[in-house]
Every structure is written in C-alpha cells, then in structure tokens.
C-alpha cells in the first residue's frame, strides 16, 4: 500500500455498487452522495437515513483511574456521565485552543469509549497515550477494528426497533444491543438535529448491519447531506468551526467546559470566560442572493467558518466568527463572496429545530 493510499471502510463495496460519488475525506475514500444531497437531506428530515461514518476514530480508556484520566484530558465533567451515558466534550491544548471535539460514552464503571474525528484521530490517540502515562489507565486505539453507522431521522428509531428485540437506548444513552442479529454498541446521539442512533459495530458485522438497515428502508446518505444537516442544526465541524486557533468560549462551547475539573487548558479557558473574546461564533442566513462558503471574509471584520445552501430553509446559511460587539441576533452584515458583497443576518441557533411532536 502506498503512503498516500486512501483508507476504505468495510462498507466501501456497498457505496460503489450503489453508485455513490466517492471523494477523499480526512484520508478516507468516502461517499459524498448517492443520488443527491437534497433528497438525502430530506430523507433524514422526513423519514430515516443511514450514514457510513466508519472513518471516525475510537479510543477505549479503561482502568481504576480512567475517570481521573479523562477528567484531566477532556473539557467536560466526565464524572457526570452515568454508566450507559454519553457526553460531548473537547480536547484542548494548554493555551485553550481546540484540538478536537469528542463524544465520550461510559460503557462500565471504569471503561469509557471516546469517538474522535477522523482527521484528528492519530494526534488524538497520541495525546491520550501521552497523558495516560500519569494515570493507572489503559488506552486502546479501537479505530481500525470498528465501523460506525448513523441511523438518523424521525423514523430511525422505529426502523431499528423493527430489527431488534432489545429496548433501544434513549437520547444521550448508550448500550450494547443486537440489531438484525449483529451485536452493536448503540448510542442515542447524532449529528443531524434529528432523533436517531449511532451504531458502533466490529468491522466483521458492518455489511450485514448496513444491508439490514437499508433493506428496512433507511436511505443511504453521504457526507454532503451530513454537512447540510449538521449546519442547519448548528453543530460544529472540526477544521471549519473549530481549530487550534479558536477557543471554546468564542466557539460558543463554554457549556462543554467545566474548568473546576482542572482539565488541560482549563486555566486559559477560565481567562477567556472571565475576560470575554474578541470574536464570537454566530449562525447566519443570507438575506439575498448568494451562498457564503468557508473562508469568505465578513466586511468589517470576521470570517465565515462554514457555509452552504440549506435544503430546508432554501437559502444560504452558515456559521461565522464576528466581532463580539456586532454579533447579536438580528445584526445585519455583509460577506465578501468571491468579490461580491452579499447581505446576511445573525440568526438564533439552531437554524433548524425539529418541530415538537404533536400530542
């Protein structure tokens, strides 16, 4: 294998057979779309879709000091995760920059599983290993043996329920269940703003699981729809909305930082929280023509971190770092979109909120 060969998920053959358009992403060859971003997006908003997210990484931390270790390493209060619970947190540098954003699941009293972003996973694991040396904990890189499917949408739960006799985990809960005869670690989490589950499965069971979920009616969805869905829901994308030069406070992730736990970076972040930040991440929508994209500059200061066309709202949307004094909801501003000044307005987050079920 050449050094720059793309990694393939266990489901790669299925994507090719389904006519997916495959693109390089974070070192993997991944489906960006099957039939079209718009249809896939709507399938998740209206029914159920399934994403191959096997490129994401996993690190297993176990041992008597697993809690103390993760408390030091990650930004949230890990002691608040019950067995079978899930929590969002950040991996930060000493100066408070964001190295990655993570989901951590507590599998047992002293066993945790942390899901990392594909592009950050090797560095993340190296950091886990380095910091673990001061604790009585074993860290294991579980990425290569693990596939991951996200089944998302208002009908995702019913669809998976039809394939399992086990009770499904509730929102922000996780447990091992059997789906279509395949053992999976199922979590009530996702990246779409819809209800749904993420299923971690050993590589050997991935094809059988995928086939069962698709046969049951889930629409295969690519990274294109994953991005439009997450941006409508205002979930951060590492590399766009978060990076080592941005701190959690300006990114609007102060809620995921519990400085009292003494995590790496907590002192710097306490300072940002106390003193405020020069910029702040906002959600916006375009008020006229044009679609802002990541990297477009805001007239008068600031930059678009993510931008796309919203299939639900049918306008350009995005997130941008704006000067704090000009970042309140309703503020109108202009974005330099390839040389044209396009008007936009700061909106409430999220840009899309799932309607409450009627009673």
């Amino acid at each position: 294998m050449s050094a720059n060969a793309l990694l393939l998920t266990p489901l790669h053959a299925r994507h090719g057979a389904a006519g997916a358009r495959l693109v390089p992403f974070a070192g993997w060859e991944m489906p960006v779309q099957y039939v079209g971003v718009m249809d896939e997006h709507r399938a998740v908003r209206d029914d159920a879709g399934v994403f191959d997210v096997s490129h994401m990484g996993q690190v297993r931390s176990s041992g008597p000091q697993a809690l103390e270790f993760l408390q030091r390493l990650t930004s949230n209060d890990v002691s608040a995760i019950p067995v079978g619970g899930a929590q969002y947190g950040l991996l930060c540098s000493e100066d408070g920059g964001v190295l990655d954003d993570l989901f951590t699941y507590r599998i047992a009293d002293d066993i945790y599983l942390t899901v990392t972003n594909a592009g950050n996973h090797p560095q993340d694991y190296a950091r886990f290993a380095e910091v673990s040396e001061g604790f009585d904990v074993d860290v294991l890189d579980a990425a290569s043996g693990t596939a991951m499917l996200a089944v998302q949408g208002p009908n995702a739960r019913a669809l998976l329920g039809s394939l399992s006799t086990d009770a499904l985990p509730e929102r922000m809960q996780a447990k091992t269940i059997s789906v279509a005869g395949v053992e999976v670690f199922a979590a009530g989490t996702g990246y779409t703003g819809e209800d749904g589950l993420e299923l971690l499965v050993r590589n050997e069971g991935a094809l059988e699981l995928w086939d069962a979920v698709v046969t049951a009616g889930a629409v295969p969805c690519g990274l294109g729809a994953r991005d439009t869905l997450r941006l409508e829901a205002c979930f951060h994308l590492y590399g766009n909305d978060l990076n080592t030069d941005r701190n959690p406070i300006e990114a609007g992730l102060g809620w995921a930082c519990k400085e009292a736990t003494g995590f790496i970076g907590s002192e710097a972040i306490a300072g940002f929280r106390a003193n405020g930040t020069a910029q702040r991440l906002v959600a916006f929508s375009m008020t006229g023509d044009g679609i802002a994209r990541s990297g477009n500059e805001v007239v008068g200061g600031g930059v678009v971190s993510s931008g796309t066309f919203s299939p639900t709202l049918e306008v350009g949307i995005g997130m941008a770092y704006l000067p704090t004094e000009a970042s309140s909801v309703g503020t109108e501003f202009e974005i330099d979109v390839r040389g044209k000044q396009r008007p936009a307005v700061v909106r409430d987050k999220p840009l899309y909120r799932k309607a409450a079920p009627s009673v």
Binding site: V37, G224, D227, T228, D289, G290, R293, F309, P311
Partner: protein, 130 residues
C-alpha cells in the same frame, strides 16, 4: 435528473459549455453540458451576468452553485449578452433537468463567429470526456 446526452446540433467548449446557433448565425444560446451539471450536483443558484455585458471567449461570465460547490461558467465564444434566462432564478434545478433546453443560460450576439472553429462537435466532446 436527465440521462447523459450530447446533442449533435450543438458545439462544445472544453470547459463543458455548449453553443446553439440561431438561424441567422450571429446570435447563439450558451449553457452547460450534461457532464457539467452532473459533476456539480443539484444546482441551487445561478449568478447571471447583466444584459449588455461583454463576454470574452474562455473567460468566466457567471457562477453556478450546487449545495456543495460553486463553479465558474466559461464563455465558449465572445459576444454581448442580449438576454438572460431569468426563469432559472426561480427554479435553478432546471439546469439539471434540461441542460440543453429550459436550462440555457444566456443569449449572446457573437462578435467573432470564426471562434466556432475552435469548438468541438458532439463526437469530439464525448471523446474528450473519455
């Protein structure tokens, strides 16, 4: 979406644009090919030029955006824009559904008709696509 096709009554530019000459041979419609719209995906925005703008062969005169990407549209020949397909603003997807018909982009009064010698016919364009 439409099926792949490259009509024989059009001429083609290597940047995946087509030209359809009017009967007088002095004006023409421009658009993007099936290949171009397929590569872009579902079109959601057409940033059209103004009527009266001068187009220069091989230079960008408009932008077309899909959900994921933005693409320049190149002039296959030089001329002056005399009409813009304004119906695309309301329904950009027509570029995907009917790239050679309802999805035309601009009508142009050609200033250098001999430039057509540098364009490809359907067979040559199809061969270029491989």
């Amino acid at each position: 979406m439409s099926e792949a096709s490259y009509p024989e009554d059009l001429l083609y530019h290597q940047e995946h644009d087509w030209v359809r000459f009017d009967a007088d041979g002095e004006t023409a419609l421009f658009g993007i090919t099936w290949y171009a719209q397929d590569a872009l995906g579902e079109v959601v925005f057409y940033d059209a030029p103004e009527v009266g703008v001068t187009l220069v062969k091989d230079e960008s005169y408009a932008e077309i955006e899909s959900v994921k990407a933005v693409s320049d549209v190149f002039a296959p020949m030089s001329g002056e824009v005399v009409e813009v397909n304004s119906s695309i603003s309301d329904e950009p997807g027509v570029i995907n559904d009917d790239p050679y018909g309802e999805g035309w982009l601009v009508k142009v009064r050609l200033t250098s008709v001999e430039e057509k010698e540098a364009l490809m016919d359907s067979a040559a364009y199809t061969e270029m696509l491989g």
